[in-house]
């Protein structure tokens, strides 16, 4: 009788332990579309995993905290998830400045963190080389810059008619634009010395500042006239979504039609593709909805997201959020436990085909040991749809070159 009692107690304990959820704490800006859709995508991934029986026989519990895009709120969220909710892992992320405030606190807990936001190289410096527990999936800003050069080089090889020697960078005069221009200037200096990724591509560089419409500006004519006079092979503007349509309208007004018209805002206006001026505009991004036509996992993600939330994913943070959860869970599966050492080892070894487009594999970056994606994609608006032009293995259309200009718009 006593033996039976012990056996039953042991069994019950095992059942309770087996059903104890693995807790994942996500920190995202929920009032912003990037954070909201990333949170949705994470919930979708957790639902799929739990419906399939969870991982290691345990369900996954996702606890989402809003960082409100404020550093102090993002930092407090780390403390709350670690000490009140007692999560096993941290995921999420978007803004670099919020992350800078979180890093000293993450370092205190040293829990495995798989981060999808924060591109600033300052975050990498703050994390440091010794943080084995830290995994960063979003490409750092300098990796993005390098990937554009690699992409344009590949494009000039595939399309011999494409020539990129003179580059004009129009940049908004705030932090985002000025730092973009600074990094192009640095790359140009390296290219002049015959080193750096832009060597052979960037033979001349000129910049022109503008006040973004998002910050009370919106008149780009003087800068566009300067660019027109310079006659660049590649015109690129680094501003915000509010600049996209007025920039094109004013370029049309003054008859400025460069061979490549590239926009590099962090986000595009809703329905930008429906505007006829958008046709032929090139952009950089990690993902495009058209990927669902060439990637099975991207199609699965798209369909499941639309079915679950009755809206289309509109930002790359949606497939990135989905990737965030699956990548971690695949590693836990491989590790066979949630022991830190085993999971870290597994995260470094696994390869995950992501709906973002590409296989996610960890490799070192300049400082940290665990960097995920290393490149952005070169995309182009074609008849209202964002198409992938490069990398060619994920291309959904050929490049329209030169930029079609304004006569038919």
């Amino acid at each position: 009788m006593r033996r039976l009692f012990v056996l039953v107690s042991l069994l019950l304990t095992l059942i309770v332990l087996a059903e104890k959820p693995i807790k994942i704490g996500a920190i995202l800006p929920l009032s912003d579309i990037t954070g909201r859709q990333a949170a949705n995508a994470m919930k979708l991934a957790v639902k799929e995993i739990n419906d399939a029986g969870g991982v290691l026989g345990r369900p996954i519990e996702l606890i989402v905290m809003d960082d409100e895009m404020k550093p102090e709120k993002g930092a407090a969220a780390v403390d709350k998830l670690a000490t009140v909710d007692k999560v096993d892992f941290f995921v999420g992320g978007m803004s670099s400045s919020v992350h800078l405030a979180q890093i000293p606190i993450l370092k205190k807990y040293k829990k495995i963190t798989v981060w999808i936001g924060a591109a600033s190289y300052k975050c990498e410096e703050a994390v440091g080389a010794d943080s084995d527990w830290y995994f960063h999936l979003h490409p750092w800003d300098y990796l993005q810059g390098e990937s554009y050069a690699i992409g344009w080089k590949a494009i000039t090889e595939k399309y011999p008619q494409v020539k990129i020697e003179k580059i004009f960078l129009a940049y908004e005069e705030g932090a985002f634009g000025t730092s973009s221009f600074k990094s192009y200037q640095d790359e140009f200096e390296l290219a002049k010395q015959g080193t750096g990724v832009w060597t052979g591509l960037m033979k001349d560089l000129k910049g022109g500042p503008f006040k973004s419409a998002a910050l009370g500006g919106g008149d780009y004519r003087a800068m566009l006239l300067q660019a027109k006079q310079y006659d660049p092979d590649l015109f690129i503007w680094a501003g915000y979504d509010a600049d996209a349509i007025p920039m094109l309208s004013q370029a049309k007004e003054i008859g400025f039609s460069p061979k490549l018209f590239v926009g590099a805002p962090p986000g595009w206006p809703a329905d930008f593709g429906k505007n006829p001026l958008s046709n032929g505009v090139v952009l950089y991004g990690m993902w495009a909805p058209a990927l669902k036509d060439v990637s099975a996992i991207a199609k699965h993600f798209w369909d499941a997201y639309v079915q679950e939330f009755n809206e289309e994913p509109a930002t790359y943070f949606a497939p990135l959020g989905y990737t965030n959860i699956y990548f971690l869970i695949e590693a836990i599966k491989k590790a066979g436990s949630i022991d830190d050492k085993a999971v870290i080892q597994a995260l470094r070894e696994i390869e995950y085909e992501s709906p973002v487009g590409g296989v996610l594999k960890i490799s070192p970056s300049r400082i940290i040991k665990n960097q995920g994606f290393r490149a952005q994609k070169i995309l182009q608006w074609q008849n209202g749809v964002q198409h992938v032009i490069w990398p060619f293995e994920y291309a959904t259309a050929n490049l329209i070159y030169p930029f079609p200009g304004w006569s038919t718009k």
Binding site: L30, D66, E72, A76, D79, S97, L100, Y121, G128
Partner: protein, 302 residues
């Protein structure tokens, strides 16, 4: 009774790290930083001058502290004094020029100062790290939340005492008379410019020290977030919700809005900011004297 209550609150505040979890300590630390900003904004308002320079001096102090530690190996605690002194000296120089302005002209000029500081921080790259900002590899006290809390608590007590000095000494009569009627104040022999300058320098020093502590707590500065309008608008909202022209008003406002914001978020992860905004608007519309002012009015009328 009043003294006993103050001692009890102070004792509770001191022992909080022993009885509360780290999350609550973090939330209270943030509330105290904003409380100090709200008090300093209100102290300036008591002179009749509406200042929009809170975020500017906050950012200035933050940058001064981080640069002091990173470039000049100053002790992190000492760097807070550096932040305060730097903000005070800057405000003294600027105050000589801008304190001749009144009402909206003064308000807009102080707002413009924040923009000027931001542009400088973004462009003096060698010193400030430019658009990417500057980081420290260790937060103050190696990120120990309890020690950081006590540091912020000590600073908050100093600010409350300063505010009370403004309320209880002859400074109060001077600045109140400036606010009510400058002509009468001048004819009473009050040196208006001197008092305005003193208050402007002291409140800017408080804002600079608050920025320095915040920067040391999170070990970074970055132009957009360090000079964020959040460090101007939220303290104003706290003072308005609690009640202006007093010490207790901004304290009450900071506690009400600080806890409401954090716990609304836990109740409703989505949409909590809308409710939070509505609470602020309704309080300002229907409680014109703020929460504290309205309660006191009700008590007095009974």
């Amino acid at each position: 009774m009043k003294t006993l209550s103050i001692i009890a609150v102070l004792a509770l505040a001191i022992i909080l790290p022993f009885i509360a979890d780290i999350y609550l300590i973090h939330v209270v630390s943030t509330i105290m930083i904003f409380m100090c900003l709200a008090l300093s904004w209100d102290m300036m308002l008591r002179t009749g001058q509406l200042s929009f320079g809170t975020a500017g001096f906050f950012g200035l102090g933050a940058y001064a502290a981080i640069i002091a530690v990173d470039d000049f190996n100053v002790n992190p605690v000492m760097s807070i004094f550096v932040g305060a002194v730097f903000a005070a000296l800057t405000s003294f120089g600027l105050g000589i020029a801008v304190l001749k302005l009144r009402e909206m002209y003064f308000a807009i000029t102080t707002l413009a100062l924040t923009s000027v500081f931001t542009v400088l921080a973004r462009n003096l790259s060698d010193l400030t790290g430019g658009a990417a900002g500057k980081i420290l590899f260790n937060a103050i006290f190696d990120g120990d939340p309890k020690k950081t809390y006590w540091l912020i608590l000590s600073f908050t007590i100093v600010v409350i005492v300063l505010s009370e000095i403004f309320e209880r000494t002859r400074v109060k009569y001077a600045i109140s008379s400036i606010r009510n009627d400058e002509l009468v104040a001048k004819s009473s022999g009050i040196n208006i410019f001197k008092y305005l300058l003193i208050v402007f320098v002291i409140t800017s020093a408080i804002q600079g020290a608050a920025g320095a502590i915040y920067a040391q707590q999170y070990a970074f500065v970055e132009p957009d977030s360090t000079f964020s309008a959040n460090f101007l608008l939220l303290p104003i909202a706290m003072a308005l919700v609690g009640g202006i022209y007093s010490t207790i008003g901004p304290i009450v406002g900071a506690l009400v809005l600080g806890f409401t914001s954090e716990y609304l978020k836990l109740l409703m992860p989505y949409g909590h900011l809308i409710i939070y905004g509505i609470i602020i608007v309704l309080t300002v519309i229907f409680l014109r004297k703020g929460v504290y002012g309205t309660i006191m009015e009700k008590i007095r009328s009974k």
